[in-house]
Symmetry: C2
Subunit: 460 residues, 2 copies
């Protein structure tokens, strides 16, 4: 098949869709560090985690030995409503850039949540339903995860309570209505509805919120209401596991046409898309079967990889969650309200953190006006209006393609186009009006966050 | 292939995409009546039409003999960026409705314009570019057509001036930003920028606008600026021609799996989606090769087919356009601002009007709250948040499926899901808040529109 003409969009047959998720941890020599109980500083047990998370998801969270996990048939069927997602050859972009590089993107935005988040939302909602729960709670930043979870819960007839980072709630008034269409309740965070929310509001009056705050509130509600559990759209191992469908589909499609990517690029907030996209490729590299150049792209205003510390930290601002070992800006870090493009989480997936720490991945921080320039350029050439988050990956994909133009290298670039920007028009408007600025935290700005990292022996 | 298992989504290969558009007029015994010059009441010549429209599009407009028109390669390649669109088997909806009916929909919303409008936008922009024009002008109602044209013009580097119906401009603040992302200029209509706009504002102060007004303004600008022509997103024969890709793809996909639809349903504003979807099926019926039940669905608040008159009328409120013979509420008809769901045009495609007049099609009017009920139900079950326009077709598809449940008939239903509702959240919010009401014009309400239909011998 290697010489078959490559279409603009490669769609797999439904029969070619993955039947199992791939668990990259199984192939890692250095496993990601376990979650710790912040009281005892001992690894969280399944029982302890079961207070917050659904039982089956706890098993997936702790499982770092099985490389393949069956996808339940009901989830496969739900996937079929919006998957396989297309692997797109960016012929028009290549031509416009006059690059010898071949550019591909895996487009996850063709569903109403507008992003890849639905891949894990349906899995988590499914296991909650299986366990006989009444509902789930969660946080959402840009709103994509909240929308995805609302959709999954509507489908399965589960209650869904969403805490939405206040700045997004205000910037994206219509996101709330979409979630409402799917029957979810949405509360701007921090709120007065929880103890931790009230505390954060006292300590930081006028805060525009952060994912960390919203997580604390959602966890509090889940653990204080009978029949509820908390679910999370990124960061966790289980989420990377579910998101491996992105990479598995991409790899199957590329293998089918004899394409081997040289560079694989993804935006990184908590790491769900990046982890999902690269997992099967990283697996090959870990097993010594292939070699790839992975690039994680993060906003310069929330630079967990490039300026964070690799330490145990809370996943939430309220410090009620377990400790995860990860690249972190400190759970006290709250990104500038000026920053429009999602990816506002202070930490990063433990799995990706370990891979980065082991030198298996590069990370780059990019500034938001250059991200929106890339977004607009991409929209006009490729027709898809991208989410600001996804546009971080576009920025670096274009940069890499332009490097190829200089060097003449015919590299094959694959990037994750995680979603669409239809609910981000306030940010686009700012950009069009020249009202968007860049914010790069100084070392002093970052210090406040680092002060919040818990200190204990071995975590300095 | 007849017994092959039918996937959730049927995607054609790029090689199976249509290379020619199908011109249903060629197979009609009773051709649609020609456009008339309102001054002479004689059929518009190519030369006269060439003042307003691009030359090649004039040829397509007048051509009622050639059944197949080649799609230029550049347009085929643009189509490949977002087509083929999926033909979806609504397994989940069928199950939820417990109907023996088999429901399919052709989903045209997976592109940034959010609808099928892009199919004709790229064609019209392409011919304008070929003719060496500087730019094009147009009107937009819900904003889908304007967005589509902006995308096509950005791709081809053409200037794009959009007149947007004022009520939509206000209800859809972010649509403007999307068009701006694609470099278009957007003016709410009626406006002070044109003579006809100023006149309409004098005569109807406080009007929320209508497609008819916006058309008048866009035509005035096109004909008074060197190097510009006017393009229209619906109603015209050329648009139905371009939109035939919808039906052609649907038919190829169905034939591939041995599926024959019994009922084919589309929403009808100006007729572009309905005409495009049904064309190849209607062609078979006209040639006596097959039999189908076609249903046009229109809003009860703008009921051109079901309560209009089949007469020559202006396509625009300002009465500067040629006369078209069509089902019309009168060019003076301005739909209630209360009506949220697009499909606000007073008239209807001449081709569809003739087919309806000849008894080849049924028409139904539906009320908007029942449309939004169907929209929400569909969103929760099938995952896609539909445009209000498209939801008119969903309403009737569900009604037909429920009839099958009563009678036990295993009908195969095909409907057009023209687009997504991501920019319609103001309307959804109204619906959620119980603030949406239905408006059905009384006969007296309609009289004002009918008074505006031009009177001349044979047009009474």
């Amino acid at each position: 098949m290697a010489n078959k003409e490559i279409p603009y969009k490669i769609y797999l047959e439904e029969s070619e869709m993955p039947k199992k998720w791939y668990n990259v941890r199984a192939d890692m020599a250095n496993k990601p560090a376990p979650l710790l109980n912040p009281g005892t500083l001992k690894p969280m047990t399944a029982e302890e985690l079961g207070v917050v998370f659904c039982d089956e998801l706890v098993q997936q969270e702790l499982n770092d030995t099985d490389a393949w996990i069956d996808i339940p048939e009901e989830i496969v069927n739900f996937y079929k409503m919006y998957r396989p997602s297309p692997l797109v050859r960016a012929y028009c972009l290549e031509k416009k850039l006059q690059t010898p590089a071949k550019i591909y993107y895996k487009f996850e935005g063709n569903n109403t949540s507008g992003s890849h988040k639905l891949n894990s939302a349906i899995a988590q909602a499914y296991y909650a339903k299986q366990q006989g729960l009444k509902g789930v709670t969660t946080e959402t930043g840009a709103g994509q995860w909240g929308t995805a979870l609302s959709m999954a819960c509507a489908y399965l007839d589960l209650d869904c309570k969403v805490y939405m980072v206040k700045v997004s709630y205000e910037q994206k008034p219509f996101r709330r209505e979409v979630m409402r269409t799917y029957g979810a309740s949405v509360t701007p965070s921090p709120s007065e509805t929880t103890e931790v929310g009230r505390r954060i509001l006292r300590e930081h009056p006028g805060t525009t919120g952060s994912l960390g705050c919203a997580i604390s509130e959602a966890v509090e509600v889940a653990t204080s209401h009978e029949g509820y559990r908390y679910v999370l759209g990124s960061v966790l191992n289980q989420v990377l596991l579910h998101q491996s469908v992105i990479g598995l589909e991409a790899k199957t499609a590329m293998d089918k046409y004899g394409i081997k990517p040289d560079v694989i690029i993804g935006c990184a907030g908590g790491g769900s898309n990046l982890g999902g996209l690269i997992s099967p490729f990283m697996g090959e590299m870990l097993r010594g079967e292939a070699d790839y150049h992975f690039i994680a792209v993060e906003p310069a205003s929330c630079p967990s990889f490039t300026r964070g510390k690799f330490l145990y930290d809370f996943c939430d601002t309220g410090k009620i969650c377990p400790l995860a070992k990860m690249y972190t800006l400190g759970s006290g870090f709250i990104p500038s309200a000026n920053h429009a493009g999602g990816l506002r989480f202070h930490g990063m997936s433990s799995t990706l953190s370990q891979l980065y720490h082991d030198g298996l991945m590069e990370a780059r921080a990019v500034e938001q006006t250059s991200v929106f320039e890339a977004a607009e350029q991409f929209a006009r050439i490729e027709g898809i209006l991208p989410a600001p988050e996804s546009s971080h990956a576009i920025r670096v994909a274009i940069d890499e393609a332009l490097k190829c133009k200089e060097t003449g290298e015919e590299k094959t670039i694959l990037f994750g186009l995680t979603g669409t920007g239809y609910f981000d028009m306030v940010a686009y408007e700012k950009f069009h009006n020249g009202e968007m600025s860049d914010y790069i935290p100084s070392d002093e700005d970052l210090q406040a966050g680092f002060d919040g990292i818990p200190r204990f022996p071995g975590n300095e």
